[in-house]
């Protein structure tokens, strides 16, 4: 068990090293992609700034609180992209590349998350952290609260990652395609930048229980500003842990249903 875990960690580290090296071969591309993900922070920044300059904004959230929630969402999306780009999983299944993960002596699930990330996504996270720090400073949030909230967000992010991997695997098993997953990620990325209360009750239920984007940004931010109680937060954390376990089990089962798409 311990040997297996150590082997998996070694595999993750060497894969990461290789991915960084291969990405750095084309430096101009690497810089361009870093810029792309950094610019993504601009979209919500411009939207929020224009909305708040032309109207009273969104009920219950002032300008800096909105910046905080959107930057937290962007930070989490950046980490998410760094870890995994789910459409690549479906693509690798379709072209048969996925076969290698099943025959290698590592956990196939860990192989997936160590091979299919977008290294440059980290710049979106960095941009998000910078705006988050600015918003946190303007809203006078303590470092301890920030650390607590980040840990809750990371738990929510794990749940979202597991959900999207599960959907990618299920899409391939069911109809041999997962190209639409990138649009699903766009939805989750865009939706998580704003308080999920604006989507009404159906939207809140959808983004909490079905596609759990709210767990990574909205609920932690709402907790900071006292919009939800600590009891509700604890319940959500338990829910997040439960979804991670359930999605993981389903992913493992779906991998057993995988039929290679060729080579």
């Amino acid at each position: 068990m311990l040997d297996g875990a150590i082997n998996n960690i070694k595999m993750v580290l060497s894969t990461q090293k290789m991915m960084w090296k291969s990405n750095m071969i084309y430096r101009s591309q690497f810089i361009a992609w870093m810029l792309v993900f950094l610019l993504m922070n601009l979209i919500s920044l411009i939207t929020i700034t224009i909305v708040y300059s032309m109207s009273k904004g969104i009920a219950g959230w002032d300008y800096y609180q909105m910046l905080l929630i959107s930057s937290l969402a962007n930070t989490m999306t950046g980490i998410f992209l760094y870890i995994i780009w789910p459409p690549a999983v479906g693509h690798s299944m379709r072209n048969g590349e996925f076969d290698q993960f099943i025959v290698k002596p590592y956990n196939p699930f860990i192989s997936i998350i160590s091979n299919y990330g977008i290294i440059e996504g980290i710049s979106m996270g960095i941009g998000g952290v910078l705006i988050f720090a600015y918003a946190a400073y303007m809203t006078h949030i303590s470092i301890i609260t920030i650390l607590l909230v980040l840990s809750v967000s990371l738990l929510g992010l794990s749940s979202l990652i597991m959900f999207l991997i599960m959907i990618s695997l299920a899409s391939y098993v069911l109809f041999k395609g997962s190209g639409y997953i990138s649009s699903l990620i766009n939805i989750s990325d865009s939706a998580s930048r704003y308080p999920i209360t604006i989507y009404g009750l159906p939207g809140m239920l959808l983004f909490t229980f079905v596609m759990p984007v709210g767990l990574a940004s909205y609920y932690p931010a709402a907790f900071i500003f006292g919009k939800i109680s600590i009891f509700a937060m604890m319940l959500l954390m338990l829910f997040e842990i439960a979804t991670i376990v359930i999605y993981y089990k389903i992913c493992k089962w779906l991998i057993t249903k995988y039929e290679s798409g060729g080579g």
Partner: protein, 265 residues
């Protein structure tokens, strides 16, 4: 000669239609994704307790984003830019060069089916539903202008993508640069915030650029933000941009295609 291009078109259409369930899901999710921002504006109108922001009513804003959502999928995939980038990167451009068709024209013909699929199965049905449900009245001239603007937008979008992708010849891969440029274009075209909400001097300058043709201008024509009397002049500007971008593409392609160095990965 036309037969050869038709064969290219037929093959691209077949491969584009290969995964039908995926196409349907792509259209649906792309539509929903474009509507997220609408909820933000709806909440802002609601909380501000006003029916009018900067001269634009809530109904108009709702229609704006619905129409945008229906045409947004057309711009997916970075047009011909992605094809040329991939052709040079993989080396398949060599086999394209020896075929009895003009590579650049064939490139546009290869990409056209993808746009047509989204137009036929996404844009047209959704716009029809929007038109019926909203009860809006549209003059024939308005519809003709809208179609002309969509055609102009198609060429502007693909020519910009083409110009950027030509640099693959020197940089091996320009997908990152293309993405960066299109994020900026998204902001300047009115895809995220209608450009009428930008400060007046910025709005006036943007109207002279090719970017609003990709979102703000066709949408505004469809829902009636732009007066019909303004549109012919706007079409002249759009056509001029298509010509300018075509000339730039032609010059760059002539100058650079002799330097193609196949990587073939």
């Amino acid at each position: 000669m036309a037969n050869r291009y038709f064969s290219v078109f037929k093959i691209s259409l077949k491969s584009g239609m290969a995964y039908k369930a995926e196409i349907v899901l792509k259209i649906i999710f792309s539509f929903i994704s474009s509507l997220i921002i609408l909820f933000v504006w709806y909440a802002a109108y609601h909380y501000s307790n006003t029916s009018n922001i900067n001269g634009i009513s809530l109904t108009t804003t709702v229609l704006y984003f619905f129409v945008f959502a229906s045409i947004a999928a057309i711009w997916g995939g970075y047009g011909v830019g992605k094809l040329i980038n991939s052709d040079i990167k993989t080396g398949s451009i060599v086999s394209n060069f020896i075929r009895p068709v003009n590579y650049v024209y064939a490139l546009f013909v290869r990409h056209l089916p993808q746009t047509l699929i989204f137009l036929i199965f996404g844009t047209i049905p959704i716009l029809t539903i929007i038109y019926i449900i909203s009860g809006m009245h549209m003059a024939i001239a308005q519809l003709i202008y809208f179609i002309a603007e969509i055609a102009i937008a198609y060429f502007i979008f693909n020519l910009i993508a083409f110009i950027i992708s030509i640099f693959t010849i020197y940089l091996s891969d320009v997908e990152g640069i293309m993405n960066a440029v299109f994020i900026i274009i998204e902001i300047l075209s009115g895809a995220i915030v209608p450009i009428i909400f930008y400060p007046k001097p910025i709005y006036n300058i943007l109207l002279l650029t090719p970017f609003p043709f990709l979102a703000y201008i066709p949408i505004s024509t469809f829902i009636g933000i732009l007066k019909i009397s303004q549109i012919p002049w706007i079409l002249v500007i759009g056509t001029a941009w298509v010509l300018v971008l075509s000339v730039i593409s032609r010059i760059l392609w002539k100058k650079f295609n002799r330097d193609i160095n196949i990587v073939g990965i």
